[in-house]
């Protein structure tokens, strides 16, 4: 199709190799590095990287940071977070002659999440990453990813139960047909629970998505518990451009601006910052090479698999391939992404119980209208939503019609149905379709229960609320 909206893409068909062999910055030293169309010598290159990093750090300084902040660095051991650690250390260091310079960060904590439980066979990455952190004499917090099943990583810090979600097999053709109950969190070790959870999800795309949000939750909670007000993540521009496309493809457009932003305050007390966002992965690797850094190899769910293994993996392949032929791909995508913002109407209270990101209300209805699943001869299409709700929140409807039932529900906490149909974001809902029978970690159960309680309360006072739409 040659689209009506096709515009021109100015593509240099002949890749011109610069004829000048000297560095374009200092013009004196011989160039050794070629980045897109520019040549650099080693010194000017390093200077450029430091400059890009500092530019972002200065922004944080001016926006809302106080002097003497306590911050946390997420260190996976990959090239980007490795370089970030070095750059941040240099930035925060006060040399003896710089008496007037105030240290920006009073305390720096390094946090690593060990994902080896996911693969079972892989060796733990903990010790090797810990060694790196010790080189800088920073306190190190190492967390196995399965810790997400511990009550420590919930808002209250003491919520123990899990959320059992089952997918009604007899109605597998329906979207959103799941039943959720709060259940006891025992029997298995945390590691086994994580493995069971992942085994219950059939597609790699959904698994990868889950794993990332579990990690993010762990990081946020750890930062909170240790009193850090800022979390540094090492996303490079290459990584961010891949994320922009993959988040879009997974239906996460609504929360995308938050998930790729250089700085955001979505988690109020802990802000997330990405100071590496303007540096490409290639530049980072050269930088690391000059400093003689080794990477800690961390495998992912799709390592060694073909590109079509998952959306994330396919997108990576797509962007890296495009960047080779059209070297402005990454920068164009990140520039587009940076122009997007989260909608003003977004309400901090309404976040998805899984990914904790904002969600759009009414996304289920949206989908039911454009993907019709029934014909009117059977339980009619119009009737379907009520039908569906009846099976999911049987308890809720009955409990609210009879007061006696309500109190009964509070007593029997377990095996109580929780209505989760409206507290999932669109993308997590899509993910859930690939799950059969899973037990979600305590933080999800806590969110779900909290929201259910809020709704019940709301029902009691509903007639006194003034709706803007009226």
């Amino acid at each position: 199709m040659c689209s009506i909206e096709e515009t021109l893409i100015d593509i240099e068909t002949t890749k011109s190799r610069p004829s000048d062999k000297n560095c374009i910055k200092c013009k004196t030293s011989r160039a050794t590095i070629l980045i897109r169309h520019s040549t650099y010598c080693k010194r000017c290159f390093q200077y450029m990287i430091v400059g890009k990093f500092r530019k972002n750090m200065e922004k944080y300084r001016t926006t809302n940071s106080q002097i003497g902040e306590k911050v946390m660095i997420g260190l996976s051991g990959g090239p980007s977070s490795r370089a970030m650690l070095q750059l941040l250390n240099d930035y925060n260091e006060t040399l003896p002659h710089e008496i007037s310079k105030k240290q920006l960060f009073a305390d720096v904590l390094v946090c690593h999440i060990d994902e080896s439980a996911i693969f079972d066979t892989q060796d733990s990455t903990m010790d090797r990453v810990k060694k790196i952190a010790q080189e800088y004499r920073y306190p190190f917090v190492g967390l196995p990813i399965e810790n997400i099943f511990s009550a420590d990583y919930t808002s209250s810090g003491a919520y123990k139960e899990v959320l059992n979600v089952t997918f009604d097999q007899s109605k597998q053709q329906e979207i959103n047909e799941f039943v959720a109950t709060v259940g006891q969190n025992d029997g298995h070790s945390n590691k086994e629970k994580l493995q069971l959870l992942l085994r219950g999800i059939s597609k790699l795309t959904a698994k990868e998505d889950f794993v990332w949000y579990l990690k993010q939750t762990l990081l946020i909670h750890t930062a909170r518990r240790t009193g850090c007000t800022r979390l540094f993540l090492g996303d490079s521009s290459t990584r961010l451009s891949i994320k922009i496309i993959s988040l879009t493809s997974k239906g996460r457009g609504f929360s995308l601006p938050l998930e790729i932003s250089g700085e955001n305050q979505w988690f109020e007390d802990v802000s997330i910052a990405r100071p590496m966002k303007d540096i490409t992965l290639k530049e980072i690797c050269i930088y690391n090479h000059y400093l003689g850094f080794d990477n800690v190899f961390t495998s992912s769910l799709t390592s060694m698999l073909p590109p079509k293994a998952s959306i994330e993996r396919l997108t990576e392949d797509f962007i890296v391939g495009l960047e080779k032929d059209y070297p402005s791909t990454v920068s164009t995508i990140t520039r587009t992404g940076s122009k997007l913002s989260i909608q003003n109407s977004v309400d901090k209270e309404s976040h998805c119980m899984m990914c904790l990101m904002p969600y759009q209300k009414g996304n289920k209805i949206w989908k039911n209208r454009i993907t019709v699943m029934r014909t009117p001869s059977l339980p009619s299409t119009k009737k379907m939503p009520t039908d569906q709700n009846a099976t999911i929140c049987k308890n809720e409807t009955s409990s609210c019609s009879q007061d006696a039932c309500c109190s009964q529900n509070d007593r029997t906490k377990f095996d109580q149905n929780v209505d989760i149909s409206d507290i999932l974001c669109y993308a997590c809902r899509v993910n859930m379709r690939d799950a059969k029978e899973i037990a979600l970690p305590p933080y999800v159960a806590e969110e779900a229960e909290k929201e259910n309680r809020r709704r019940k309360l709301r029902k009691h006072i509903e007639e006194f609320l003034i709706d803007d739409n009226e």
Binding site: M1, C2, S3, I4, E5, E6, T7, L8, I9, D10, I11, Q173, K203, T205, I245, L247, T248, S249, K250, G251, R252, G253, F254, L256, P257, P307, K308, S310, I311, L314, T315, F318, L322, Y326, T329, T332, I333, R335, T336, G337, K339, L340, S341, I342, Q343, Q360, N363, W366, K367, R369, I370, T371, V372, M373, R374, T375, S377, L378, Y426, V430
Partner: protein
């Protein structure tokens, strides 16, 4: 073991629905396919009773199914629309001449009035001539820009209120990706809107916004609709090709990806501080444009002055070098000026308006 349809639980399933993976029978497939389009039309209040609506018909699968379904839904749900077929003759030998034959047959089959408007009459250049001049690179730009205007001009001649096009969910998802890839923030925001309206411009909608391309083909195949299925002989843009391959791969991994991308696209909001181009009117022909001159006028000027590159890339630099347009150069007739001009424009348009 033959499976039964998961929707009616009676008939044998013969289709695996691309959108959901459900195994359904033909009748149920028709039902959900048509109902989803009806829901899209109803929820977005696309039409009002008595509207005159032109279906942009190319003779390809999308527009053929669109014409068929629109006629069907119009009768089934009593939209009360007056439907027309509107075709553009780009002048591509071995492609458009054949597909126009299909449109003419459709006109008979569906009993709808047809109007054909041609590039050579509107612009003085057929696509064949343009390709001779500019080569195979960038020719799609000419074709795309010219078609957009030609459709609007055709709609004015037909005196319709509304144009509907056969853009499907795949096309829109691909456009969302393309606009991110080339950094076109203004279009990124616009491209998922189901209807576009501008000042002095005819409303244009995409009823197939949530309809999968594969299901359109399926529908056309089972309903034995008469459509033309050859790719354009002038090859399409290579960069867009990458995006399309990527989208098809995504669909293999997760069939809902196409809808998911549209969902993302609809949620995108541009930061307040980002400057967006302001829509105005072309000084030369009166068509809507975000620049002083609309793209079609610049491209046409380039063709007429023997400078085909004028509208491609560095227009200002070319202008400095070659000067402004000489007085006697042919231009596009004024858009929506007076009824006089409308008449004179009618005279140059061939077609079988019944």
């Amino acid at each position: 073991m033959p499976r039964t349809c998961v929707i009616c639980n009676k008939e044998r399933a013969s289709i695996k629905r691309p959108k959901t993976g459900q195994q359904v029978c033909r009748e149920c497939f028709y039902y959900v396919f048509e109902t989803e389009i009806h829901n899209t039309i109803a929820d977005n209040k696309l039409f009002s009773k008595g509207d005159k609506v032109a279906i942009a018909a190319s003779g390809g699968k999308d527009s053929t199914v669109l014409a068929y379904v629109m006629k069907l839904l119009n009768e089934r749900y009593q939209y009360g629309l007056n439907l027309f077929l509107l075709s553009i003759d780009e002048g591509i030998t071995g492609y458009r001449d054949d597909s126009l034959e299909t449109v003419k047959r459709n006109q008979q089959q569906y009993d709808l009035p047809l109007k054909i408007i041609s590039y050579s009459e509107l612009y003085g250049w057929s696509m064949d001539q343009i390709v001779k001049e500019v080569g195979l690179k960038n020719n799609c730009t000419f074709c795309g820009v010219f078609r957009r205007q030609a459709l609007d001009r055709g709609a004015v001649l037909l005196e319709v209120d509304h144009i509907i096009t056969g853009h499907n969910a795949d096309d829109i998802a691909e456009t969302v990706l393309m606009n991110i890839l080339r950094g076109d923030i203004a279009r990124l925001q616009r491209c998922t809107e189901i209807s576009t309206t501008g000042e002095g411009c005819i409303r244009r909608s995409k009823p197939f916004k949530y309809t999968y391309e594969k299901e359109i083909v399926m529908y056309a195949y089972f309903k034995k609709l008469d459509y033309f299925s050859t790719e354009c002989i002038y090859s399409p843009n290579a960069y867009r090709g990458h995006a399309r391959t990527f989208l098809k791969d995504l669909e293999v991994i997760r069939p809902s990806a196409i809808i998911d991308i549209i969902h993302s696209g609809e949620a995108f909001e541009v930061k307040r501080e980002v400057k967006l181009p302001v829509q105005g009117v072309c000084k030369r022909c009166g068509y809507m444009s975000s620049n002083e001159l609309c793209k079609a006028c610049v491209l046409l000027e380039g063709l007429n002055r023997g400078l085909p590159k004028l509208g491609i890339g560095k227009t200002n630099r070319m202008r400095k070098k070659h000067g402004d347009m000489p007085k006697n150069t042919a231009t596009i007739p004024q858009f929506l000026e007076s009824s006089d001009e409308k008449k004179s424009a009618t005279s140059i348009v061939e077609g079988t308006l019944q």
